[in-house]
């Protein structure tokens, strides 16, 4: 039982951090350890591109909806089967997220022109991503999807346990409190980063980003016909030779450097049927980025 400690005008609770400055590096170091508890380690987070998938409408979205439906059914069948049966091919439990797409760009463009401060811009953009989450939920509802509101963070295990397809809000809740960017006025904590941090805090090992390119290229393949696909790389390599145009948020890679759980980020082409299924089965389609 912890006891209360007085004598310096303050009332403390006895703990290893009592009276300490939490800014002191030496104190912060005492809270470190090699291990970290993984909350939901077997879940895979799947991020669907806003601009790359959603803004393409029915032709791009509906085949993915079908694929997700099939994956979810396979997952349910796997959980209902007796333990110990052959489940090598069973898809892992997954959580979905969606980007905001072109409306985010339009929002930012108008907001910056109006002189909205960076935190204000960050506060605004999330609405477009939430709208896409609602779109996706409308399409997947009969296949068991549910939009997980932030305040229902701890209901995630319930959704997964009952075989549902949770769709999380991708933008991180930095809102008005978005830190000043290193360069320029644009908020840097976007939806890819948000999904990454969501996976990381829950101890997930793998994220899959579904975009409209076969993966990560050394240059923007939409602008350069001779752009080369990078099918396999590591975080270190990528950090050393970061392409000018990256298909996912830079902040994700910065954060990954200090992450403890996420081991792999895979980028696949959602316009190619079956790529997501293959990626979930562990096949190295698209681009596979590993931490080491």
């Amino acid at each position: 039982m912890s006891k209360l400690v007085t004598g310096d005008g303050r009332t403390h609770i006895e703990s290893s951090l009592m009276r300490e400055s939490l800014v002191d590096r030496r104190v912060v170091a005492t809270t470190d350890s090699d291990g970290e508890f993984a909350i939901l380690p077997d879940v895979v987070l799947v991020g669907l591109g806003g601009q790359s998938i959603f803004d393409r409408g029915r032709a791009a979205v509906m085949p993915l909806v079908e694929e997700l439906k099939t994956l979810r059914e396979a997952r349910r069948a796997a959980t209902e089967r007796a333990a110990g049966s052959d489940k090598v091919k069973d898809p892992p439990p997954m959580v979905l997220g969606v980007g905001g797409g072109t409306r985010v760009r339009h929002t930012v463009s108008v907001a910056l022109d109006l002189g909205i401060p960076t935190g204000g811009v960050a506060q605004l953009v999330g609405a477009m991503e939430e709208a896409n989450a609602v779109f996706l939920n409308a399409l997947l509802a009969k296949h068991g999807s549910i939009v997980m509101q932030r305040e229902h963070f701890w209901e995630l295990p319930l959704y997964l346990e009952s075989g549902m397809l949770p769709i999380v809000i991708s933008i991180p809740p930095y809102h008005f409190w978005e830190p000043p960017p290193e360069d320029g006025p644009l908020p840097t904590h976007g939806s890819d980063f948000g999904l990454f941090i969501h996976a990381e805090v829950l101890g997930m090992k793998k994220l899959i980003f579904v975009k409209d390119e076969d993966g990560l290229y050394d240059r923007d393949p939409k602008k350069h016909a001779d752009a080369k696909l990078i099918s396999k790389t590591t975080l270190d390599e990528l950090t050393k030779h970061m392409p000018d145009d990256v298909i996912i948020d830079r902040q994700l890679f910065v954060c990954w450097q200090r992450a403890r759980h996420v081991e792999q980020v895979q980028i696949v082409n959602g316009l190619v049927p079956g790529q997501l299924t293959k990626a979930l089965a562990g096949e190295p389609v698209g681009t596979v980025i590993t931490r080491n």
Binding site: L17, M18, H175, L186
Partner: protein, 273 residues
């Protein structure tokens, strides 16, 4: 197979329609002149360990100064955590929980403190507000209220992992600074139990000298193992657009807070340049 041609992206044309939003820098041709939303608000941080954990003796006189000033200034009170937050961080670190969980758990304590302040200030218009109420600040001020909120930013589970430890890097100092920054305030005032910054810990070394003014850069360059405010705040100050000054005042000394609210450079002022 490359089917991109089949279904074009339905785009809204804008200056950023083709831009990669995450590479940083200013979009071409943009003349960005951000507006200061409420530059006359005085953003005050009431320390957790330094003020709240001291109880009535420390807090009541501070609240007297707050209520005396409330009709003259728009005051936004933000709370620190203190010893219960330390207890949470210690227990959670022992359990090897991720930083994001620590940030979410650590958020409970400043909220409790904010609620306590609200109860004490209710008869003077003290209002407990959530992050989601932020856009109603103009109304609260127009009504003559004293909005009171947690100092923690709303990052919670989305807080980044901490290098070399588990304690979240964005805690109440960062939250208060970012609050001032987005409101367009030049200065945030931190009410603590010391007269600001000293050459050494004045609680342990009586000959420590007071530093009335210092730049964020100087502080960072000294690379001291301990620091008067959260490191990220000093980093962010180098690139903030509005909040370029932090003032740390001793709330235990009568009248100091009132003088700070009048714009006097009491305590220590940390400036960007």
């Amino acid at each position: 197979m490359h089917s991109a041609k089949r279904h074009e992206r339905r785009r809204i044309s804008s200056k950023l329609a083709d831009a990669t939003l995450t590479t940083g820098g200013s979009p071409e041709g943009l003349d960005y002149r951000p507006v200061a939303m409420m530059p006359d608000v005085r953003v005050l941080k009431i320390g957790g360990q330094s003020v709240m954990d001291r109880g009535r003796d420390a807090l009541y006189p501070i609240l007297d100064e707050v209520t005396a000033a409330k009709d003259k200034h728009k005051l936004l009170l933000c709370c620190g955590g203190g010893t219960r937050a330390r207890h949470i961080y210690a227990v959670a670190s022992d359990l090897e929980l991720p930083t994001g969980v620590l940030a979410a758990l650590g958020g409970y304590v400043p909220r409790q403190n904010a609620r306590m302040l609200q109860m004490l200030l209710a008869k003077h218009g003290g209002l407990f507000i959530l992050h989601d109420d932020f856009e109603k600040l103009p109304l609260y001020f127009r009504l003559g209220c004293i909005p009171i909120m947690t100092g923690m930013p709303p990052f919670g589970y989305w807080e980044k992992p901490t290098k070399g430890g588990r304690i979240p890097e964005h805690r109440t100092d960062a939250g208060v600074f970012l609050t001032a920054e987005v409101l367009g305030c030049k200065r945030a005032i931190f009410v603590k139990d010391e007269n600001g910054l000293y050459t050494d810990d004045p609680k342990k070394n009586k000959s420590a000298k007071h530093i009335p003014r210092i730049t964020a850069k100087e502080l960072l360059e000294q690379d001291l193992p301990d620091m008067v405010v959260e490191r990220v705040v000093l980093e962010y100050m180098q690139r903030s657009r509005f909040c370029t000054e932090l003032q740390i005042v001793n709330g235990l000394e009568k009248g100091v807070l009132t003088r700070a609210l009048e714009g006097e450079d009491v305590g220590t002022v940390i400036t960007r340049d």
